[in-house]
């Protein structure tokens, strides 16, 4: 039994953040139907993000503006646990898929709206988009390095909003299990971005809480928590927090005197003379390759890693990760064998289930219509009239 087996989600999510919430629950075993236009989700043109948030879902391509198309969606509403979307406030209502509309068909539904900024307030009608929200909550300046122009952070808040959305849906499922009630949830993207900088707080005297500022060269947070260039092209990362690790570091880099040098002998002294210590270590690290340093430092128990620059290739190619499920491998109807990030939350007794890549537009339209009671000839009729769509037979067959 998969963890969320039996939970049904109708996902009107667009772009990335909204669909990512449903994808996370799909990975844990929920049955997610992605509802998209008969011409396909426009986001399909942006293949990377699309693939990253749509796998493990079934696709229904349907025209929401046609009454017969609406009738299909109404049938889905009747039997679903969850409906979610991330359109701007008011848009779902205009499409006839607002909370009040869905409740008519399913009074106990869990309905999640993930707006950019919320349904009230001066920014409520503004679109969000990443990396804009991340930059607004401080991440572009935090990523820049001291005194530099802002840069986009590697931490993209589309993911964070999807993760927070998954949390909201699970909380609502738990509430429903206790009370029998469904409800509406609001999961704004701005605040999910703020969670990722939630250590920040303003004190009474108007000062901001301490935050760790990246150095000007963007190497880290000081001599003992940073990356160093080496003799090879690769860089080595060291994080030395304990006194014994500092001594081992000095010894291994061939400068045991550093740890007794009065400038660096204590934590306070090292903080005061951080730039000198960084300069000393920078010189020393140039003497050997990253691989040589890794071997020596690791053997000496100094916490270190080489900064991997080649993306996921090593990870995806490691049979251990394929076997453990950290990397998922399946056939894709257009691209051949496909590797993706697999299971990132492991439950010992009721695991998740990752069964296939992002669907083609309408790939499961026929299956879903059949489940709703439409006969084959009714399905064909709906397709002929342009109310639903599915891919041409050959492509659908190779799909998962």
């Amino acid at each position: 039994m998969y963890a969320l087996q039996g939970i049904k989600i109708v996902d009107f999510g667009i772009f990335f953040a909204g669909p990512y919430a449903a994808k996370l629950l799909a990975d844990l075993g929920a049955d997610v139907i992605k509802v998209e236009a008969v011409t396909g989700d426009p986001m399909r043109r942006s293949m990377g993000p699309f693939i990253g948030c749509q796998r493990n879902k079934r696709s229904l391509a349907v025209d929401l503006k046609n009454p017969d198309g609406q009738a299909i969606v109404h049938k889905l509403f009747k039997q679903t646990d969850i409906v979610c979307h991330n359109m701007r406030p008011g848009v779902a209502e205009r499409l006839g898929i607002g909370y009040e509309d869905v409740k008519k068909f399913n009074p106990g539904v869990i309905y999640m709206h993930s707006p950019s900024f919320g349904t009230i307030g001066p920014r409520k009608d503004q679109p969000g988009f990443e990396p804009l929200v991340g930059a607004m909550v401080g991440m572009a300046i935090m990523s820049a390095g001291k005194g530099n122009n802002p840069v986009n952070s590697v931490a993209n808040m589309d993911y964070g909003n999807g993760q927070l959305g998954a949390i909201g849906l699970l909380m609502a499922l738990i509430h429903r299990a206790k009370t029998g009630q469904g409800q509406k949830i609001e999961c704004p993207q701005m605040v999910s971005g703020m969670i990722t900088t939630s250590e920040l707080h303003w004190k009474k005297d108007g000062t901001l809480s301490e935050w760790f500022q990246l150095d000007q060269k963007q190497t880290g947070y000081g001599p003992l928590c940073r990356i160093y260039p080496t003799k090879s092209e690769e860089w080595i990362c060291v994080v030395v927090a304990k006194e014994k690790d500092f001594q081992a570091l000095c010894k291994t880099v061939g400068a045991p005197g550093l740890s007794s040098d009065l400038r660096f002998a204590t934590k306070e002294a090292r903080k005061k003379n951080a730039d000198s210590l960084s300069a000393e270590l920078e010189k020393l690290f140039l003497a050997r390759t990253a691989a040589e340093w890794f071997k020596a430092l690791d053997a000496a128990g100094v916490p270190c890693e080489i900064s991997e620059m080649k993306g996921p290739d090593k990870l995806f190619g490691n049979p251990e990760h394929v076997q453990s499920g950290l990397v998922s491998v399946y056939p894709h109807s257009q691209f051949g064998t496909m590797r993706e990030v697999g299971q990132i939350i492991r439950l010992s007794e009721t695991p998740g289930n990752i069964w296939g890549p992002a669907p083609l537009a309408g790939q499961h339209t026929r299956d879903i219509l059949a489940e709703l009671g439409y006969t084959t000839s009714q399905q064909d009729d709906l397709k002929t009239r342009g109310i639903v769509n599915w891919p041409i037979e050959e492509r659908a067959k190779v799909g998962v």
Binding site: V154, S209, E305, S324, I345, S348
Partner: protein, 378 residues
């Protein structure tokens, strides 16, 4: 007010970022969270702890002493979720690993945070966020002002892990309460957290479709940070349909509207756009983009979002009276539940503030508690 997690008890045996933040998210929605720290207090503290420990109860406990373990068991008997972040193997050595605890408390959801997971050949690699960034490959993904690896300006794997911890724990709770009646082991790691925030571009295919073609549509995608007058910055995104043309129209570059952008016209357009923003204030720039209905936001310094008018309107910022540092403005509640509204449960506690209260509730007499204190167990 009963929140979705009201009635559940969570034991927080964590440090670093992900565990305390994950437990905060559960406290925010009604769970009673008991944070257990050594009698000497947190070994390593973090400026975020004033926020992340809000609404929790604090108990001091020496888990290395048998009496300390005994107290923990009393607390476990009433708990629904345990979150721990010991290095893999350490909890087992202390006698509070999953197997041992699950045997005694089968309903408990046991949630483990580690650097690389509870199994596998990387299990014992050192567990600092920056090192996980290096090993997974985040330093190769972060944009920088120079060539080579770039250290991430915030602990991305840790924050992402906080979310995943809550997702895992709540899934297991739901399974327990609706299907199996039993708890289980939830295993997630900083590496998992990093991967959860990389998968947009981290996939590979046999036929090499990994790098999608730059179609004419893509050539209308402008996602950039722009400097405005007085050194203020904004960012814009023309990914929505028609946004690029609308922006060109409103900025006054009508020659780019509706025509295919080329290798020559694109850099020229970017150069002119940069100049336009430099010559206008940020407010003027944002007003222009608003008229054009192009997503755009100010680039704010850390803490700036807490003072944004939208944060006040949506209560994304709240003032909490902290017993150690006085009233502070911090992040408010993130999710809103129609039928289970909650409020922040209170400030971060003082160290050990609730030790006596919770031990009394667990059946310890005043005398027992005094003895435990004398023996430095609590």
């Amino acid at each position: 007010m009963a929140g979705p997690l009201t009635g559940y008890t969570v034991l927080d045996l964590t440090w670093g970022i992900p565990g305390p933040l994950a437990a905060m998210l559960m406290a925010d929605y009604g769970a009673e969270v008991i944070r257990i720290v050594p009698p000497g207090g947190d070994v390593v503290t973090h400026p975020g702890y004033r926020v992340w420990n809000r609404g929790k109860k604090s108990v001091t406990l020496d888990l290395k002493k048998p009496e300390g373990k005994h107290v923990l068991e009393k607390l476990l008997a009433k708990a629904d979720v345990l979150v721990e972040s010991f290095s893999p193997g350490v909890a087992d050595a202390l006698g509070i690993g999953y197997e041992a605890v699950h045997k005694k408390f089968p309903r408990l959801v046991y949630t483990s945070i580690s650097a690389y997971g509870q199994k596998g050949s990387d299990r014992d690699r050192p567990g600092y966020d920056g090192l996980v960034q290096a090993r997974v490959g985040i330093h190769g993904q972060q944009t920088g002002h120079r060539k080579g690896p770039i250290y991430a300006g915030l602990a991305m794997p840790s924050y992402s892990t906080a979310f995943n911890v809550v997702i895992g724990a709540l899934t297991a709770l739901y399974v327990r309460d609706t299907k199996t009646g039993n708890g289980q082991h939830v295993d997630t790691s900083l590496r998992d957290g990093a991967l959860a925030m990389l998968n947009m571009n981290w996939w590979r295919t046999e036929r090499g479709a990994d790098k999608f073609n730059i179609t004419p549509w893509q050539k209308r995608l402008l996602v950039e940070l722009f400097e405005c007058a007085k050194g203020e910055w904004l960012q814009l995104h023309t990914g929505a349909q028609g946004a690029f043309d609308r922006m060109m129209e409103h900025i006054g570059f009508k020659e780019y509207v509706g025509v295919p952008m080329t290798g020559e016209s694109w850099p020229e357009m970017e150069k002119r756009t940069k100049r336009w923003f430099l010559e206008h204030s940020r407010d003027e720039g944002l007003a222009m983009l608003k008229r054009a209905d192009v997503p755009s936001l100010p680039v704010l310094p850390p803490g700036g979002a807490l003072h944004d008018a939208q944060a006040y309107a949506m209560k994304f910022v709240e003032t909490v009276d902290d017993p150690e540092i006085g009233p502070i403005e911090e992040i408010g509640l993130s999710l809103r539940f129609e039928k289970a509204p909650t409020a922040i449960r209170g400030s971060a506690p003082k160290k050990g503030q609730h030790t006596e209260e919770l031990l009394s509730a667990a059946g310890y007499t005043k005398n027992d508690i005094a003895k435990l204190r004398a023996a430095a167990v609590i």
